[in-house]
């Protein structure tokens, strides 16, 4: 425990020392700027940043990506409140009550509530993560190949089942993602798979150009074809009125709602593939259900409808880091990109990271913490100009991001094939998004496919040698039961004939 506190202090000192503090603050401000533009979130920025950080040391990379993870969330809620258009899918639930509040002349109150819930929610999540690190260190040593295999299976079933949209499409995308992860050398026999005789594919599909295509390029194509004159579709921002102070203090008037929502956010963040949209909606749902007993006016401008999704949405960021750091299982697209960057810089998730490199973990955690506070404070302070930034003309944004994406893809390895891969996956991502195919299962399965194969191979070999009995390992059995349960629940829900849902934004 002492070593954890020492590492936490060291990480804190590193993040808040000069000039290191400039990294998270600068990255957060950049992320805030980008996230204000509806439809272009932190994911695009993270994808674009991967080639920039190739030659950086790992601590500064952790500073940057920690800030990116936290920087986008609150700013997306500004466009939700002011324009009724979520900056990110995860801010969609905030729209329900935030936008009606803005129309009732309480825009500043809603923004104040979102800012304080967001900052305090992320703080809650960070402290839960810190508190769980000793537990995780104890848990990891209990994990052998069989447990890791079961965990990956659970992760795969969860992403296929919980990711929004069609279940079948989610499963197909996950299958394709897994197959893409097997391109290159087979780890056991060194046989080449799916390379079609090309040298380029022998080391597998490079992830940074793929991410640039699937996220940055896709969003640009989506924006270019949206038909909106400005990025938000509005020509001018709403006039702001209301009280920021009243909004900020509302968290303290509803402490239990805040606590429940933060817990929901953290737990949802831990589950692989679920993400902020679910956290926001589930928190909103529980707030609406509990408020119904007290005559709440949810959907018509109830401040609790802003507090609940915002607290959950920010608390989930730290929760998502738990499976990422401990088991290398990404909780969502952001953590998948973080894992890619960590791998590029020689950082392996697992026991070593949580023991010998704990300082690095805390650098990222404190950077995430700082960025959440910076977004909330700066966001509130600059709410007027920020509202005007949501009406940037798309004709400026599209060529700039397109060119930077192309240059970034090439800068990764200096190979023109990477640029072609980015364009191809950009087109694929655009068509997937347009026709209701979520990209999340594909990306997460791509990350998990290799781990699945490695641990399946080791587990089968050990089982064959009689060294482990897969069926008598309680953690593995529990994880497999969780996988079966998540599939079973989905099946039962479908069998009850729940009606199809309204259209949702596809990540």
């Amino acid at each position: 425990m002492e070593s954890i506190l020492h590492a936490a202090l060291e990480g804190f000192r590193f993040v808040f020392s000069w000039p290191n503090v400039l990294y998270p603050v600068g990255a957060t401000l950049l992320c805030m700027f980008v996230s204000l533009v509806p439809g272009i979130g932190g994911m695009t920025l993270m994808a674009l940043a991967i080639p920039f950080t190739l030659f950086w040391d790992r601590e500064h990379v952790a500073l940057l990506f920690g800030a990116f993870m936290g920087g986008a969330t609150f700013m997306g809620s500004l466009s939700s409140i002011l324009l009724g258009i979520p900056g990110k899918a995860s801010n969609a639930a905030t729209t329900f009550d935030g936008y009606p509040m803005a129309r009732q002349g309480k825009a500043k109150t809603a923004i104040g509530a979102a800012a304080s819930a967001s900052a305090l929610g992320s703080t809650f999540g960070v402290f839960v993560l810190i508190a769980l690190i000793p537990l995780l260190r104890g848990l990891i040593v209990q994990f052998g190949p069989a447990e890791f295999l079961a965990l990956v299976i659970w992760g795969l079933t969860t992403i296929a089942v919980v990711t929004q949209g069609s279940v079948v499409k989610g499963l197909v995308a996950a299958g394709v993602g897994m197959l893409l992860s097997y391109v290159g050398y087979d780890p056991r026999t060194a046989e080449l798979r799916f390379t079609f005789g090309t040298l380029y594919l022998e080391d597998g599909i490079p992830l940074p150009p793929l991410f640039l295509g699937l996220f940055a390029m896709t969003e640009m194509l989506d924006l270019a074809t949206s038909g909106r004159a400005t990025v938000s579709g509005q020509t001018k921002a709403e006039r702001l009125s209301g009280s920021l102070r009243e909004g900020a203090l509302s968290v303290f008037r509803h402490p239990w709602l805040f606590l429940r929502s933060s817990i929901i956010g953290t737990v949802v963040g831990i589950i692989p593939g679920v993400g902020g949209t679910v956290a926001g909606f589930v928190a909103y749902g529980q707030a609406a259900q509990s408020a119904r007993k007290h005559g709440g006016r949810f959907g018509q401008g109830d401040i609790r409808g802003v507090l609940a999704p915002e607290a959950a949405n920010d608390a989930k960021d730290a929760g998502a880091l738990i499976p990422t750091f401990a088991f290398g299982i990404p909780g969502g697209t952001g953590t998948a990109m973080l894992l890619t960057v960590m791998t590029m810089h020689g950082i392996a998730p697992g026991k070593t990271l949580l023991t010998d490199q704990l300082g690095l973990v805390f650098v990222l955690v404190w950077s995430l913490f700082l960025s959440n506070w910076v977004t909330s404070l700066v966001g509130v302070a600059t709410v007027g100009p920020a509202a005007r930034m949501t009406v940037i003309h798309r004709h400026f944004l599209v060529p700039i991001i397109l060119v930077l994406t192309t240059v970034g893809a090439y800068a990764y390895q200096g190979r023109i094939e990477d640029v072609c891969l980015t364009y191809a996956t950009g087109a694929l991502g655009f068509w997937m998004k347009k026709h209701g195919w979520s990209r999340v299962p594909l990306v997460i399965a791509l990350m998990l496919g290799g781990i699945f194969e490695t641990y399946l191979g080791i587990t089968l070999r050990l089982h064959h040698l009689g060294r482990i009995d897969f069926w008598h390992r309680p953690i593995a059995a529990g994880l497999l039961a969780a996988a079966a349960l998540s599939l079973g629940l989905r099946w039962a829900q479908a069998a009850r004939g729940r009606p199809p849902a309204a259209a949702q934004e596809m990540p």
Binding site: S166, V168, V176, L179, Y182, F396, L404, Y410, I416
Partner: protein
């Protein structure tokens, strides 16, 4: 039976990818093909099922609960909120179905133009030229604005990628052809 849903080409593309992967998997040794084969077969079955859902509306209705679903704990929330406040839509509803196709074709053409200009002239020059043309002709802005965007972008590419990061920048084939 209907002809195809708009998402059918994606289903077919994924089917083709999985089919080719299956064919390649069968050429591999027993160890190397174990996992890919165990992924290919169920994925191909799912692709076939999705294709059936795309083509047969009756089947799609029967499996509607699997086709699109609400999140646990969220059901009912949407009915209580005012729908006019929910502006998030998966796809914008087009007024004229020909318009999105036209804008998509235009977007892909511009994307191709970026690739071609970068490939021929190099990224440091081709990128800004693309931005200049895009802002001037697609964005219908004046030359001063377009030139400012192009110059700013060129400066970012050179300063950030070349000078600061010392990252490789594609020089372009045209210069080699011209012997420069």
């Amino acid at each position: 039976m209907r002809r195809f849903s708009p998402s059918t080409p994606i289903t077919l593309l994924f089917g083709a990818i999985v089919g080719v992967a299956l064919w390649q998997t069968l050429q591999l040794g027993p160890v190397a093909r174990l996992v890919p084969l165990s992924v290919c077969v169920p994925t191909l079955a799912l692709v076939a099922f999705q294709l059936a859902l795309d083509v047969f509306p009756g089947l799609a209705r029967r499996f509607a609960a699997f086709e699109r679903r609400e999140l646990v704990g969220v059901a009912g929330v949407r009915e209580r909120v005012h729908p006019e406040h929910l502006l998030v839509r998966e796809h914008p509803t087009p007024e004229d179905p020909a318009k999105p196709r036209e804008s998509e074709a235009r977007a892909f053409a511009w994307m191709g133009a970026m690739l071609a200009s970068g490939w021929l002239l190099g990224f440091a020059l081709g990128g800004p030229i693309f931005a200049l043309l895009y802002v001037r002709f697609h964005g219908r802005r004046g030359w001063p604005v377009a030139l400012a965007v192009a110059a700013g972008l060129g400066a970012v590419i050179v300063v950030v990628f070349d000078w600061t990061l010392n990252a490789p920048l594609w020089r372009g084939l045209a210069w080699a052809w011209l012997g420069i």
